[in-house]
């Protein structure tokens, strides 16, 4: 039997069930391109009332998952293929985490899951039942920036800024793990974050500043 055309990750539909979220332009476009006419209704418009309703015959398997993001609890039904990165960006509207390679090879999508830095592009959302996720949006304390955010500004540690949220989340993990003891150590333990603009020297300085070494 011919397999259906595989849907790309960002095109997989997640159905937020609580609190109900209006479909944004972004989810509308992605869900329609992914699923075509048959499945769109299953994924899209769906509010809480659809939970438990029989899925349309063709629709890809979904699962409910309840997780906390930056302290807010979310209970969503996700297409099993949805990555944490897509859940954050496409469905929860948290676009701070970036998609560079979608393959674990750049670090732009770095977030903390249960306190550990991970690549959200390789993390299936469906596996995160009960998890606590921290993204760049959850790092500041109200209007007070996290010391590493402030250090990135002080050290001018970015140009285009695309890698920056991942760099900062990774830097937070790096410091918590105790791997910010020297510039060399920071360079090695931050190597999972690529910067196309080549701001490495200043990124290392920013981590040194936040770690209290500068």
């Amino acid at each position: 039997m011919e397999e259906p055309i595989p849907a790309q990750p960002s095109e997989t539909a997640a159905v937020p069930t609580a609190p109900p979220v209006r479909p944004t332009r972004r989810t509308f476009i992605t869900a329609t391109t992914a699923a075509g006419a048959t499945v769109a209704t299953g994924g899209l418009v769906a509010g809480p009332s659809r939970v438990g309703a029989a899925a349309p015959a063709e629709s890809p398997p979904t699962s409910p998952v309840s997780l906390s993001v930056n302290g807010d609890r979310h209970t969503v039904t996700v297409d099993n293929r949805t990555s944490l990165l897509d859940l954050l960006r496409e469905h929860l509207g948290l676009t701070g985490s970036k998609k560079g390679c979608n393959a674990g090879a750049c670090g732009a999508c770095t977030v903390l899951v249960d306190g550990r830095r991970v690549n959200s592009c390789l993390t299936l959302a469906v596996r995160l039942e009960g998890a606590e996720v921290t993204t760049i949006e959850g790092l500041a304390d109200g209007d007070r920036l996290h010391p590493l955010q402030q250090a990135f500004i002080d050290q001018d540690a970015f140009q285009c800024g695309y890698c920056t949220p991942g760099q900062i989340m990774s830097g937070v993990g790096c410091m918590q793990e105790g791997h910010s003891g020297s510039a060399e150590e920071i360079r090695e333990w931050m190597s999972g974050n690529i910067c196309r603009c080549g701001c490495y020297v200043k990124i290392v300085r920013a981590v040194e500043q936040a770690a209290g070494r500068k």
Binding site: E3, P4, G104, L124, G173, R187
Partner: protein, 326 residues
């Protein structure tokens, strides 16, 4: 990515049952999710095994160490026993991937990872590993990073794991649990050379779970270390690598265990080099003499001839780092 159903196994029995029905185990997911996205892997069911009790590093009765299959790469590398007894394992792990990936990936998943050959990952290219009988695009293609040892006319892809090279050198064994019970396979027999069935990569039976990797006791003092040579300093797979463990007593090398990576279709042991070292006294001249045989039997391809010399030098340098000089 193709749709799949998902279940999380509460315990080992449930996981094995799901595995028996054809479910695919997922541990850290760092390579499986990636390959599913590329549609190289197309499991219909994923079985999350992260709740299984295989998370510990424990001493064995024989005096070795048992690393649970679900121990994360970061945890295994940082474990005090691993660091003091087998630095070669810690070093191989910390020179692998990135801090983020090591926080996710597990020891069991690591030794199960599939080749990074670009033709394997590209579903439009010929690849006997992915699509038996379709040919090998790497043979006539761009094969700079491919293997020079253990290759066949059907496949020249390297095994990409670093820690597997350390496990091969330390003569580890892989503990397996299947519907028919437990068994243990020597590491040397666990990863398979391609031959004419490159699609068969591990001596794992359908539905079998890896529960642990066991390092046997070695006579002490054992000095060991891992060297990795690559195109960039970090966050890159090996062009060549060497895991070296030496037991030196009374100024004489009593035992030498050496395996190399980045060059073989599987982690490659160097018994001839080990023999040249055994019973001799450490010296710069000895390292050079022994390493001269490191690439014996190599069959370089169009673009990876450089690996022959690079391999010899990698082994020589790592022998000097671990064994010192007079």
């Amino acid at each position: 990515m193709y749709p799949f159903s998902f279940t999380k196994a509460a315990g080992t029995r449930e996981a094995l049952e799901a595995g028996r029905r054809g479910g695919r185990y997922i541990a850290g997911g760092t390579t499986l999710v990636d390959l599913m996205r590329e549609t190289v892997e197309r499991p219909r069911t994923l079985v999350d095994i992260s709740a299984l009790p295989m998370r510990e590093v424990t001493d064995t009765a024989r005096g070795g160490l048992r690393i649970g299959a679900l121990v994360r790469m970061a945890e295994a590398a940082a474990h005090p026993k691993v660091r003091t007894l087998y630095p070669v394992i810690s070093q191989a792990l910390e020179l692998s991937a990135s801090a983020q990936l090591r926080n996710m990936a597990t020891i069991g998943g690591n030794i199960m990872q599939r080749t990074r050959c670009a033709y394997f990952r590209d579903v439009t290219a010929a690849c006997n590993k992915r699509e038996p009988g379709s040919g090998c695009a790497a043979l006539q293609g761009y094969n700079r990073t491919h293997a020079i040892l253990g290759t066949s006319d059907h496949c020249v892809a390297t095994h990409p794991s670093d820690v597997a090279v350390a496990f091969a050198a330390l003569e580890a064994s892989v503990h397996l649990l299947g519907p028919d019970g437990e068994r243990s396979v020597p590491f040397a027999d666990f990863l398979l050379q391609p031959g004419d069935t490159p699609n068969r990569e591990q001596a794992l039976r359908p539905g079998e779970l890896i529960t642990a990797v066991e390092i046997p006791p070695h006579p002490g003092p054992l000095k060991s270390g891992y060297m990795k040579v690559r195109d960039r300093q970090s966050y890159e797979f090996a062009l060549t690598s060497a895991a070296v463990a030496l037991h030196v007593r009374g100024g004489v090398i009593r035992q030498a265990k050496i395996a190399v990576g980045g060059v073989g279709t599987v982690p490659w042991r160097l018994p001839a080099v080990e023999r040249r070292l055994t019973g001799r006294r450490p010296s710069d001249a000895l390292w050079a003499e022994a390493a001269e045989g490191a690439a014996e039997g190599a069959r370089p391809l169009t673009h990876n001839r450089f690996k022959v010399e690079l391999l010899k030098r990698t082994v020589e340098r790592q022998l000097r780092i671990v064994g010192g000089t007079k």
